[in-house]
């Protein structure tokens, strides 16, 4: 278990979780890392810790460099348990002089660990502390993605510790962005954004503007999950810029579930129609696709076409679950359309349409629904419906 020097005398000392496959509803097929960093200076500083179960990895990696007791300061950029879970044990061993956190960070730490006696030092945006040769400037990033979140910036190194922002769930022994495929990394970062950050896009936009205003030189970003960005800093910042501005592609998603293949037939006919317009289209059956993977695709899609049969006067549970998840993440405006087969009452199309209206989607036209099994002529109507969606996509939202 080796630590990795990311800059002279600054080390990654986190943990690799190869096994995690579900992060409260986010499918982590490739595991993740919990990143913590150690700065050797006059005041030796530990930035964040790791999930409780991984504290031995953290301790082992720090001990490879220095005895734990030598640490003076601990910075808590984010209180969520995957970064603070081992804090009580680490504080016990380190007995730090100070623990730096935001005002909301202190409140959250008290509400998690109930320790009034820890040496908290509350910092605000633009507060700076000296470590000796280096300093840390704090930037509060409330709701990115918790109220306590903050960045720690080391100007002398042009290094930004960004907590969960710019991270991705990906377990690897490689620690840097240039040691893996950039395409794969951006895809994982997109999944992270779509499932964790998306609902705070307004704040991301503000924070990116703030970073620009502060005119910080950033040549390395060290997040709390995944790799350290050093060769593709520009790309990840650009990606965040696109995502928080709801930049969409000429792309449609057909997301559906089916009971007796009728809604499935409609989904495929609609897909056909969209494809005929030369627009990129992807079909996701909710039975076999994880909602967090579909959200990744929602991020840059221009149109979302939803299909569900009517069950018990409502939606199939998979569609209800997906819609509840997507609505909570507040995606930007999209073109929306709904379809489905039904037996006698047929409420599903109306319910899906209402969900999309609530998300401020532009509803192209009333959805289409057919009783029981669609006829050949009705499937042709589905193709035409798809074509109109394709045309609308090409015209923009």
């Amino acid at each position: 278990m080796k630590s990795v020097e990311i800059k002279k005398d600054i080390y990654w000392v986190g943990a690799i979780d190869w096994d995690v496959r579900d992060f409260h509803g986010y499918s982590t097929y490739k595991g993740t890392t919990y990143n913590a960093y150690l700065i050797l200076d006059d005041k030796i500083t530990l930035i964040d810790t790791v999930k409780k179960e991984f504290k031995s990895e953290l301790i082992h990696r720090i001990r490879e460099i220095i005895p734990l007791e030598k640490i003076d300061y601990i910075v808590v950029n984010h209180v969520e348990m995957d970064h603070s879970g081992s804090l009580p044990e680490i504080i016990e061993l380190v007995k730090p002089e100070k623990i730096f956190c935001s005002d909301m960070g202190k409140k959250a730490l008290l509400a998690h660990f109930h320790r009034e006696d820890w040496p908290y030092q509350v910092v605000k945006s633009n507060d700076t502390i000296s470590l000796g040769k280096r300093s840390i400037k704090f930037i509060e990033t409330r709701m990115l993605h918790w109220p306590d979140s903050m960045f720690s910036y080391v100007p002398e190194e042009a290094l930004l510790f960004s907590n969960d922002a710019f991270g991705e769930h990906l377990a690897s022994t490689e620690r840097f962005d240039d040691e893996l495929s950039i395409g794969e990394l951006i895809r994982h970062a997109a999944k992270y954004y779509a499932n964790i950050i998306l609902l705070y896009s307004r704040l991301v936009k503000k924070q990116l503007e703030n970073l620009e205003k502060l005119n910080l030189k950033i040549d390395m970003i060290a997040p709390d999950h995944g790799v350290v960005w050093r060769s593709h800093v520009k790309e990840i910042l650009e990606a965040y810029h696109n995502w928080c501005n709801n930049k969409t592609e000429e792309k449609a998603l057909v997301v559906y579930d089916t009971m007796w293949h009728s809604t499935e037939m409609m989904a495929k006919a609609i897909c056909d129609g969209i494809e005929k317009e030369g627009v990129n289209v992807k079909v996701f059956n909710l039975e076999v696709n994880h909602h967090s993977d579909i959200m990744t695709e929602v991020l840059d899609a221009r149109a979302i076409v939803l299909g569900s049969p009517t069950l018990n006067n409502g939606l199939l549970p998979t569609m209800a679950g997906f819609l509840n998840y997507m609505k909570g993440l507040k995606p930007g405006t999209k073109i929306g359309a709904a379809f489905g087969s039904y037996g006698w009452s047929g409420e599903a199309v109306k319910i899906m349409t209402q969900y999309m209206k609530d998300m401020k989607f532009n509803i192209l036209e009333p959805g289409i629904r057919f009783q029981y099994v669609p006829t050949h002529a009705q499937l042709k109507e589905c193709v035409e419906f798809g074509k109109r969606i394709g045309k609308a996509i090409k015209e923009g939202i």
Partner: protein
């Protein structure tokens, strides 16, 4: 009319802007917001807001 700041996420309710997504028209004072109005950023309830000069 006074502005109010969310004590959780820092969002500022400015009566001059209202809250379009919640169908609150510009010119609506914080006091006149419905009781079930919540912070558009983090979902905090009205009682978590404080008057601000920001």
């Amino acid at each position: 009319m006074k502005k109010y700041k969310c004590s959780i996420c820092g969002y500022v309710y400015d009566p001059a802007n209202g809250d379009e997504n919640a169908n609150i028209s510009p010119g609506t004072s914080f006091e006149d917001l419905p009781d079930d109005w919540v912070c558009p950023i983090c979902g905090a309830t009205k009682d978590q807001f404080e008057v601000t000069e920001d």
